[in-house]
């Protein structure tokens, strides 16, 4: 039996409640299977007709939810939503078995039938069923009730459920991105802390641009960001509460603190601390505010990132003469180099939420690359390259990376545009994430629902 009893992580601004768990027969022989690893297979063709409106007032929501579901699935590269204009019929109701004869000629392998209703109290209810068209069997379903203003989250959660059922991987559509918006000439670039849904919607600036801000990272457990800000021209690591806008400096250090990232349990921030020109990796316990120094080498040691089990930290160091990747235990012991390919400099390592890979930026032969390697340094694969690509961040399912790409500028400063892109772990499906202005330093939120 399939039963959806998702617990949604509480957001102060968004409350979503599930009111019904659907009970559907288990599929013994589902014909649909999109393996994320086997990306070279054709994307799965899926029909996502407009949801059935429960009333005239729900008409627009019914169309909009289906549109966002289809857009989410399409952007993943694993699904090919069919053109609605080719449909031979419209679903008439959730309780009515679809007339599969009308969907098979379109080669729709999957069909989404949904309903959107508004209650007398003004609550939005959305229900859907995912059907295997050729097996003529239901695959999954979900029922969600919330304020109509949350309709996009409803659509993302439905897309997540479809993605999960068909790929076997967790969905990542109900997530957000914190990043840096950029405007103005390079010499006096204005940078603003910004946040948006993973598809670019619900965009919000979180800072005013008066202060230089860099490298935001999401807390894995709270609606918080840690980032670098230059208040009073002193670069320091800050904690920022997304809901309240309140922030605080982390620690009281004489020198620059930078390159912060949360530990997987959200209780620590690992960062670099500069002292007399030397940068070392330190970790701060957010409850006790105690700081422990993890590296002592007279080299640049920075960009630390915890493994998802919290037991190891990958970081970059030039102790061997050039910028390379190293792994150490979380207490600083057993520091060892993992990047050995000749001729490249490696930076910005980020451990995958699945633990199996480390993403990085590689500089080689005048070009920048986004790549991944296993934590022992083996299996290096370069996924994206360009004049300047940098700063990979993992979708919470460890299957998609986002990064930024900056192009060349001429002697008058024209060009040099910076944009966000996502790419599948296979190196396929590179997509620009549209932002209101130029963008850099993306950081993916954790999965919103667990």
């Amino acid at each position: 039996m399939l039963s959806y009893t998702k617990k949604l992580r509480r957001r102060t601004t968004v409350l979503l409640t599930l009111v019904a768990a659907l009970m559907l027969p288990t599929i013994a022989h589902a014909q649909i299977d999109v393996g994320v690893d086997r990306f070279t297979v054709e994307p799965l063709s899926i029909a996502v007709p407009d949801f059935i409106p429960g009333s005239a007032q729900a008409q627009k929501l019914a169309v909009d939810i289906a549109t966002v579901v289809a857009e989410d699935l399409e952007r993943s590269g694993l699904f090919a939503p069919l053109d609605k204009r080719a449909f031979l019929s419209r679903p008439v109701g959730l309780a009515v078995r679809p007339n599969f004869v009308n969907w098979k000629p379109l080669n729709a392998q999957a069909l989404v039938v949904g309903e959107a209703k508004l209650s007398a109290e003004g609550q939005l209810s959305a229900d859907f069923r995912l059907w295997d068209v050729f097996a003529e069997q239901p695959m999954t379903g979900l029922s969600l009730t919330t304020s109509p203003s949350n309709w996009r989250r409803v659509a993302h959660l439905i897309a997540d459920a479809i993605y999960e059922r068909i790929t076997g991987e967790r969905g990542y559509f109900d997530t957000r991105i914190v990043y840096i918006s950029e405007t103005g000439p390079a010499e006096k670039r204005i940078k603003r802390l910004s946040i948006m849904d993973q598809d670019g919607s619900n965009h919000r600036f979180l800072s005013d641009g008066d202060t230089l801000v860099l490298t935001p990272r999401f807390s894995p457990t709270q609606q918080e960001i840690t980032y670098l800000a230059y208040f009073n021209n002193q670069p320091r690591v800050y904690l920022f509460n997304i809901d309240t806008g309140e922030q605080e400096v982390l620690g009281d250090f004489p020198g620059m603190t930078f390159a912060p990232r949360f530990s997987p349990d959200g209780n620590q921030v690992v960062m670099s601390l500069a002292e007399n020109g030397n940068s070392d990796v330190n970790v701060m316990d957010l409850r006790t505010r105690q700081v422990r120094r993890l590296t002592t080498h007279p080299s640049i040691d920075t960009s630390p990132s915890f493994s998802p089990d919290g037991r190891q930290i990958v970081f970059e160091s030039d102790r061997g003469g050039s910028q390379q990747l190293y792994v150490m235990n979380a207490d600083g012991s057993n520091q060892h180099r993992i990047s050995f390919k000749s001729g490249g400099r490696y930076g910005t390592p980020v451990w995958s939420p699945r633990g199996d890979l480390i993403a990085f930026t590689k500089i080689q032969s005048g070009l920048f690359h986004i790549g991944v390697m296993r934590p022992d340094g083996s299996g290096e694969r370069l996924l994206a390259k360009g004049f300047l690509v940098e700063s990979p961040t993992w979708a919470p399912n460890g299957r998609v990376l986002m990064f930024f790409k900056q192009n060349k500028s001429d002697a008058k400063g024209r060009g040099g545009n910076s944009r966000l892109y996502s790419i599948d772990l296979t190196g396929q499906n590179e997509r620009e994430i549209i932002t209101p202005v130029e963008a850099s330093d993306p950081a993916w939120s954790p999965a919103s629902s667990r």
Partner: protein, 177 residues
């Protein structure tokens, strides 16, 4: 009297000899109209100030008559001989204006990752600071701040721009006086 080299010549020189390219005279010419006058040679900064229009002991004085920046080779933070000469002039200038304090800004070109460049800028700023301290300047008069690749002196994705952006810049501390 130094000659303000055209940028194209400077770029060729840099390609030929990267680590010896840190010429303060070239570097100071990159920062707009205020610095188009080459600095005079020698360390007699007090007399050099006259006739430039810059108020003695001011930031403009530092830029025009002393030279406010030193340049570094790619991924380098060691002061070149030229850079040391410039920093020695900063020391002499600080001796003439004992109330003045400096913030030394460290910068990097755009051909590195953001966090590494922040660390590299810190190293560059500190290299100049340490040399000043070794010359006898009170360490409390010199702060450092790294901007990494965030504040290039001049725009452009070319070797000349990169050479001028790999720099430490002496800025009169606002806390002065």
């Amino acid at each position: 009297m130094r000659i303000n080299l055209p940028v194209v010549v400077a770029a060729a020189f840099l390609l030929a000899a990267c680590t010896s390219a840190s010429d303060e005279g070239d570097g100071s010419s990159s920062d707009g109209a205020a610095t188009t006058t080459p600095s005079s040679s020698g360390t007699n900064v007090a007399t050099a100030s006259t006739g430039s229009g810059a108020k003695p002991g001011s930031q403009l004085d530092l830029e025009i008559n002393v030279g406010d920046r030193v340049l570094f080779g790619f991924d380098q933070s060691t002061l070149t001989q030229d850079a040391r000469t410039t920093v020695e002039r900063w020391g002499a200038w600080l001796e003439v204006y004992p109330a003045n304090r400096l913030v030394i800004e460290g910068h990097a070109d755009e051909r590195g990752t953001r966090e590494y460049n922040l660390a590299l800028g810190e190293r560059r700023a500190n290299a100049a600071r340490e040399y000043l301290v070794s010359l006898g300047v009170d360490p409390n008069r010199i702060k450092t701040v790294s901007f990494g690749k965030e504040r290039p002196a001049i725009p452009g994705s070319n070797e000349n721009a990169y050479a001028q952006n790999r720099r430490s810049v002496a800025v009169l501390d606002a806390a002065t006086n």
